[in-house]
């Protein structure tokens, strides 16, 4: 075996060039062929459904003991999406790892030595990680919603009349639950998945910038978890003008059923504004990642 002569006929060589479709296929092969991907995705799904069932069950059991204020903030949609608190970190790790694992092993140099257009590599990774997280996060969000409502129903919950105010909920003798068609529930559940999608893209861009697994994950956790703590100890006048811009609070704003909630009024952005802002953060991080990828040595 001393010859490399090709038996396999190669496709036409003079036409076209290695492009985004090629790179997306390659990135999908890479993503699906390591075990950590599947572990992360299973955690997102199981945590979503499991925490929805658990929290809905606990909250339903306490309804009869709740005071008026707690009844007012009783949000069946939010209980069902509790898992996203954990999942935001899982998709963050997944988004960062898709690129930082290549820097850790040095295989980024193999990747860039077979694709002469570097932005194509960034775009393909964002498309693949975004596509996978979007599907899993949306399936999880809706499944968690239905599981959560089913648990409340099992506790004898009744659906509130359409268009009912927060007062109706407070005065109601029975546990409330919501259907998807109920004021903003569909939007809240859908945006719960979109929040995870945007976070995975943000983490991936962070990974391209920092090129280091531990660094990227630390930065990501810092922004989601630690930054709110820092802001919370600022003088309240300063904190109030900052905190609604935090990614974690944008996530909260995206998943609130605003027609029935009053305690966050004025503090948070409206759901679609929150989506827009988080998208701006993500695009800014992606642009920085792309510029650095093109201009730095691999």
């Amino acid at each position: 075996m001393t010859t490399a002569t090709v038996a396999t006929p190669m496709p036409a060589f003079d036409n076209g060039h290695a492009g985004l479709a090629n790179q997306v296929r390659s990135e999908w092969t890479k993503l699906r062929s390591v075990r950590s991907t599947w572990i992360c995705l299973v955690i997102v799904f199981v945590a979503g459904i499991g925490l929805s069932a658990l929290v809905s069950n606990v909250e339903a059991g306490q309804w009869s003991h709740l005071g008026l204020a707690d009844r007012a903030s009783f949000d069946p949609v939010r209980f069902s999406q509790t898992g996203s608190f954990l999942s935001q970190f899982v998709v963050g790790v997944l988004g960062a790892l898709i690129i930082t694992s290549e820097y850790a092993t040095g295989s980024i140099r193999t990747t860039l030595a077979v694709m002469s257009k570097r932005p194509t590599v960034l775009a393909a990774k964002l498309l693949v990680i975004g596509g996978v997280v979007a599907v899993v996060a949306e399936v999880t969000a809706f499944a968690s919603f239905f599981v959560g409502q089913a648990v409340l129903l099992a506790h004898g919950a009744k659906v509130l009349p359409a268009g009912s105010s927060i007062l109706t909920q407070v005065r109601s003798a029975t546990i409330p639950y919501v259907s998807l068609s109920d004021g903003g529930a569909l939007r809240a559940v859908f945006l719960s998945g979109i929040y995870l999608l945007l976070l995975s893209l943000l983490a991936c861009a962070t990974g391209f910038v920092l090129r280091h697994t531990a660094g990227a994950i630390a930065a990501f956790v810092g922004v989601i978890l630690v930054l709110p703590l820092i802001v919370s100890v600022l003088p309240s006048s300063v904190a109030q003008s900052f905190e609604k811009y935090l990614p974690s609070n944008l996530g909260l704003a995206m998943t609130l059923v605003t027609t029935r909630k009053t305690d966050f009024a004025g503090v948070l952005f409206t759901p679609w504004t929150a989506v827009g802002l988080l998208l701006v953060y993500t695009v800014a991080a992606v642009v920085l990642a792309g510029w650095l990828l093109v201009h730095r040595d691999a």
Binding site: T2, P11, A18, S26, T105, A113, V114, M115
Partner: protein, 307 residues
């Protein structure tokens, strides 16, 4: 064909490559020699578009890497054998590479067979020995059947059978008309494999020539002489214009006269000759001579350490 024109690259204050100009032609194996840290890997990364030169250009078949439309089908490279995700199988590693350049799946099986890894293709690459990783790296370089191939220290970690295999593979790839550029710090290996040589030290070009010319132009013809009348012969050789050095074992090393002349002079002086042989300097010795002042990291012998 690889052409480097006045390449220069610094990392911080360290000048890795300086004003490097050379050409690698198709059809022969070209060895890329230099001590550790001399800039070989940096140069190869610049050929592959991974590091950006501070100044100068390097092209593959006349095109910069960034302008290649199907990079894997025009240039294949083995740069770091262990640069593979440890949890991914050899097959999937190659498949992902093939997909970037529209290379059919059947070619993946083909190159796995070519390097002898088909039986471990589904095993995680993290469990591979260095030798197996080198073979996988060679497989990935061959995936696109490219006309230009770069190998950075390809025989590291290979057993003797593997070294022989790589040597033959490189030669046969070159015989097919490809451009083969192989770096090594092992001169003896290059003497057996390469036809052309690019030699660098501290990032600067020392020679861009053939192996044969490199040796002949950098060595002074030396003749080894053994004789019981060493002193007498040395005197007459010196008066004939030769330079004579005595070796510890009593033999003489003579430069400046060829063997025939030395034999004639011995006859005139009435001295018996026990041995008269021209000494062929090895590539190793020539290289050590040329680069001894260009090695960044000198080892010490145990005696020096104590002193």
């Amino acid at each position: 064909m690889i052409t480097a024109d006045r390449l220069a690259k610094s990392y911080g204050s360290t000048r890795a490559v300086n004003d490097l100009t050379f050409a690698v032609r198709a059809g022969v194996v070209t060895g890329f020699l230099g001590p550790n840290g001399s800039g070989k890997s940096t140069t190869m990364r610049m050929v592959m578009g991974l590091d950006h030169p501070d100044s100068g250009t390097v092209t593959i078949g006349g095109k910069r890497f960034a302008d290649l439309r199907w990079p894997l089908r025009e240039v294949g490279a083995l740069l770091e054998a262990k640069a593979i995700h440890p949890g991914r199988s050899a097959y999937n590693h190659l498949l992902a590479l093939a997909q970037t350049n529209s290379i059919p799946r059947t070619r993946v099986d083909e190159v796995l067979g070519l390097v002898g890894l088909e039986s471990v293709a589904r095993r995680k690459a993290g469990k591979f020995s260095l030798g197996m990783s080198q073979r996988l790296g060679i497989a990935s370089a061959l995936l696109g059947d490219p006309g230009v191939l770069l190998f950075d220290e390809p025989i590291n970690g290979l057993d003797p059978e593997g070294i022989l295999w790589v040597r033959n593979l490189l030669k046969s790839l070159a015989a097919e008309g490809r451009t083969i550029f192989v770096s090594s710090h092992l001169m003896s290996e290059m003497a057996l494999t390469a036809t052309d040589l690019v030699v660098i030290g501290r990032g600067q070009l020392i020679a861009d020539t053939t192996v044969a010319d490199f040796i002949s132009s950098n060595t002074v013809a030396t003749v080894l002489v053994r004789t019981p009348g060493a002193d007498r012969l040395a005197d007459s050789l010196r008066s004939a214009g030769a330079t004579v050095r005595g070796r510890e074992d009593g033999a003489l090393l003579v430069t400046g006269l060829d063997a025939a002349h030395i034999g004639d002079l011995a006859l005139e002086a009435g001295v018996a000759l026990h041995e008269l042989s021209p000494v062929q300097a090895s590539l190793e010795e020539v290289f050590m001579d040329l680069t001894s002042d260009m090695v960044d990291y000198h080892g010490q012998s145990p005696l020096e350490v104590g002193a």
